[in-house]
């Protein structure tokens, strides 16, 4: 019998008496007897905190794929970046953790200002003037970006580069069944999108930068294509790479979305992560989710508040720009802290180190007998794909035994048959390798050596 309920038995009795009730059961008098749970839920009885914690600890021990015990070359949208103690300490402050959505701004300036700062940073990285207060993850941000694009262009046809992360394309496809958007997947060739020169009139064009295979795409061509079709250009951009490569906004994107996990959020088996969303001022009234704006209080003191609320579901209901209510505010606050810690030079340095490490690793891997680049000629920052002579899944299993999380097997992302991004052979033999600033030369050398052995 464990719980967190304060009431003593005597208090419960007095309260029931005040209500004129003879028993707790009577609180539920309104519930039809026939519907009630009769013998109690078939769940174990409550266990004490230390007992449950011990069980969770033992389950945690059964997870071998820990970035603190295995050397992590896995990426594919989730990266093992440095998160310093200071960011964890600040992000863990209970005022941030246990607050609700800032509905009463007078007592929520902490979260509001932190989110305002996050929005500023997210907008700067996107190269656009407005960013929202977060969406669920990169995938949900992409869906919302496409929704905005269709609404803005008035045309439901969406051209989606095969370089968009396969999971994100999958999520897009799932939700398109509701919205009715017509998704046209544009395949890659040698790792970059081969945009059609004609055929159809897209309302939205979606590219990734770099794409999920790590390759930097020509966004100038995307902008031209969008202009040609009067389409909205949506880019799923990696915000870490933005430390050294041109921002998608600078390339002309109307909407920039992205996965913000890299900014202080742990790998966490895939969530909670952080959906980034930025757009042009022209689209601000179509912005999904929350937006914090600066204003003043009645005494003229600077203050922050959620604004343009009329876009939101609680006011506009079925006409809202999005159905999002609870978002990922805590992760946005953490991202603001992490980006504050990194600072201008730190983010650029992280991106630079990723690039150095990734190229160092790439060059050593493709120098191995039988190992080839999967996207020869393409430029990359933190991540690249190789072709292993044996099935990548086998290689990955062998490397795990040596203590390496080898990278992601492409078939696990695209399905066995490949897709618009890789062929069936590419899927089977493709390994997506990510190198963050946390990987040392010693680790990379050991990894390359182990992979060499594993693929023989």
């Amino acid at each position: 019998m464990a719980d967190y309920l304060p009431h003593t038995d005597a208090e419960v009795a007095t309260m029931l008496e005040f209500l004129g009730l003879a028993s707790t059961e009577q609180l539920f008098a309104v519930v039809p007897e026939a519907l009630k749970v009769q013998a109690g839920l078939e769940l174990a009885a409550g266990q004490s905190e230390p007992d449950v914690f011990a069980r969770m600890e033992s389950l945690a021990e059964q997870n071998l794929a820990r970035a603190d015990r295995m050397v992590c070359f896995a990426g594919g949208g989730a990266y093992d970046h440095e998160v310093p103690s200071v960011v964890r300490a600040l992000g863990g402050r209970s005022e941030f953790m246990t607050a609700y959505t800032p509905y009463q701004p007078e007592v929520a300036q902490g979260v509001l200002q932190a989110v305002f700062e996050f929005q500023t940073m997210a907008a700067r990285l996107a190269g656009l003037p407005v960013a929202n207060a977060s969406l669920y993850d990169g995938a949900s941000a992409l869906v919302e970006g496409v929704n905005l694009g269709v609404a803005a262009s008035g045309r439901p046809t969406v051209w989606v580069s095969g370089g968009v992360h396969p999971h994100q394309r999958a999520v897009l496809a799932t939700f398109a069944k509701g919205t009715g958007h017509e998704l046209v997947e544009v395949p890659l060739e040698d790792g970059v999108t081969r945009w059609p020169s004609d055929g159809g009139q897209p309302g939205v064009i979606v590219a990734a930068y770099p794409n999920y295979l790590g390759c930097l795409e020509d966004l100038g061509a995307v902008r031209a294509l969008a202009d040609q079709h009067g389409a909205i250009m949506v880019v799923a951009a990696d915000p870490v790479s933005a430390g050294i490569v041109r921002s998608a906004g600078d390339w002309g994107a109307d909407v920039v979305v992205g996965e913000g996990q890299a900014f202080g959020t742990p790998l966490g088996f895939g969530g909670p992560y952080l959906g980034l969303f930025a757009c042009t001022l022209a689209q601000v009234r179509r912005l999904p989710g929350r937006l914090v704006g600066e204003t003043v209080d009645t005494e003229g003191t600077r203050a922050y508040v959620t604004t343009l609320r009329a876009r939101e579901q609680d006011i506009r209901r079925e006409k809202a720009t999005s159905n999002v209510c609870t978002n990922q505010t805590l992760m946005a606050v953490v991202a603001a802290i992490q980006l504050g810690w990194l600072g201008t030079r730190g983010l650029a340095e992280v991106a630079r180190r990723c690039a150095l490490g990734a190229h160092y690793c790439h060059d050593a891997l493709v120098a191995l007998d039988g190992v080839e680049p999967l996207t020869p000629g393409a430029s990359f920052v933190r991540e690249f794909a190789i072709r292993t002579p044996i099935p990548a899944r086998t290689a990955s299993e062998r490397l795990a035994e040596e203590g390496f999380l080898a990278g992601l097997v492409l078939a696990d992302l695209t399905g066995e048959g490949g897709d618009g991004s890789v062929s069936a052979d590419g899927a089977e033999h493709g390994l997506l390798v990510a190198v963050t600033e946390r990987r040392t030369r010693t680790q990379i050398d050991a990894f390359v050596g182990a992979l060499d052995k594993a693929v023989r």
């Binding site: 839920l41 069944k177 730190g346």
Partner: protein, 514 residues
Amino acid sequence: MSETRSDVIPRAAAGGRATSAPIMGRAAEPTIFELSESGRSSYQLRTTGIPERSLADLIPGDHLRPEAPPLAEVSERDLVAHFTRLSARQFSVDLGAYPLGSCTMKYNPKVCDAVAGLAGLAQVHPGAPAHLVQGWLEILVDLEAALCEITGMAAATLQPAAGAAGELTGLLLMRAWHDANGEQRRRVIIPDSAHGTNPASVTLGGYEVTTVPSDERGCVDMAALRSVLDTDVAGIMLTNPNTLGLFEEDIAEVAEAVHEVGGLLYYDGANLNAILGVVRPGDMGFDIVHMNLHKTFATPHGGGGPGAGPVAVSERLVDFLPGPKPARLDDESGDRFGWITPPRSIGRVHGWHGNALVLARALTYIEVHGADGLRRVAERAVLNANWIRRRLAGSFDVAYDRPCMHEVVFSASALRKDEGIKALDVAKRLLEEGFHSPTVYFPLIVDEALMIEPTETESPQTLEALADALERIVAEARSGDHSATEAPRTTPVRRVDEARAARTLVPTFDARGD
């Protein structure tokens, strides 16, 4: 003095000055951009030993940006001070009662944070092969089983990241079901008391909203419902107890009527905490249920998120659930857990497997409470709400004069009419009394709504103090003291000008006029 004056006069603001910490003063906190000074830094990265090369050798020039994107440049000391002060400018459950109706701001056990912080959970890559993440898979499988038992459903997806995502997932399941039956239905019915996410989700699910009014008892008007039911109706979305905190007594009848025309029943589980172990959506006849784990199972809201919105379904919808799904494998020899994709899956609704660390917290909460504890949660939540309802019946009108479940909706409309004191004024005035405000102006169907959800973790003493404070506010207004319109006067900022924020949009530091 001026002769000794230095010319160090700083461009940046003073990061060590704490006038904005409420313990010291009421000044505004400078933004991190104002604290920034070019050349300063906090970050420290590990030594890698990787040979240096020029970026220009690695990445084509047209991709490289000429300058680093500007963020802020602050020392670690100033970073800490800034965000610590911001935290001091933020109210939270850990400081005091937060009786926001519908939002369920209960105390969140710290053990859940400790679980989410375990390196064996937090440091796990979501793309790792199944045999390396057996612990995680077991957690997810156990949570799914527990949620199904709690809701009376057959299977669940843990992917949706919040309640609204769950709703949309549920609507897509509804659509997939009708599609599979070769039916093209166009409408989803929603009561007028519903939360805004419901209609918004319906639109995104490709349906049209048909609103049914509530009757004088605050429940779905059965006659009105019957009048809109036909074979064009894909389903109905209900919250039960509904957003008025009232139990839809006719739920069996509703279910029968909707099922009769071939529609499905969707349960918005935001209020599930009221009925844990008492009655189950599945037993009421629902086909699809989303849960807000961040409400019912006490995973902290994080200032607006993250949450988690698993969706459970009845037997006939199991094959349509999103995938891949964690599953216990029969295979005796190999891994105990793996991934399966339901045969007619609607596909992925999340980039990975859902908000996993939130899910682990929820399982911890459920296991500590167990069957008995969860039932007590419901009992005490309902007890507290009814106590408040009865206790304040003399101060405010109750929107519906009948016993409530876990929350109660009052109306300040008389106060407004008589004294010009709006629900908003009451809310702001209550801050001065040391309580977070209730939800105001929701549900929309109650004029000057004040919606109080005390939650089960607040003590009778706290309820008494809250009730006293609200009584005091009403008495004060009724005595002709209308200073509530100036409230709050004790908070770091006074009433905030929301209109100006929308009129002169300043969504980033860079958009600032000055």
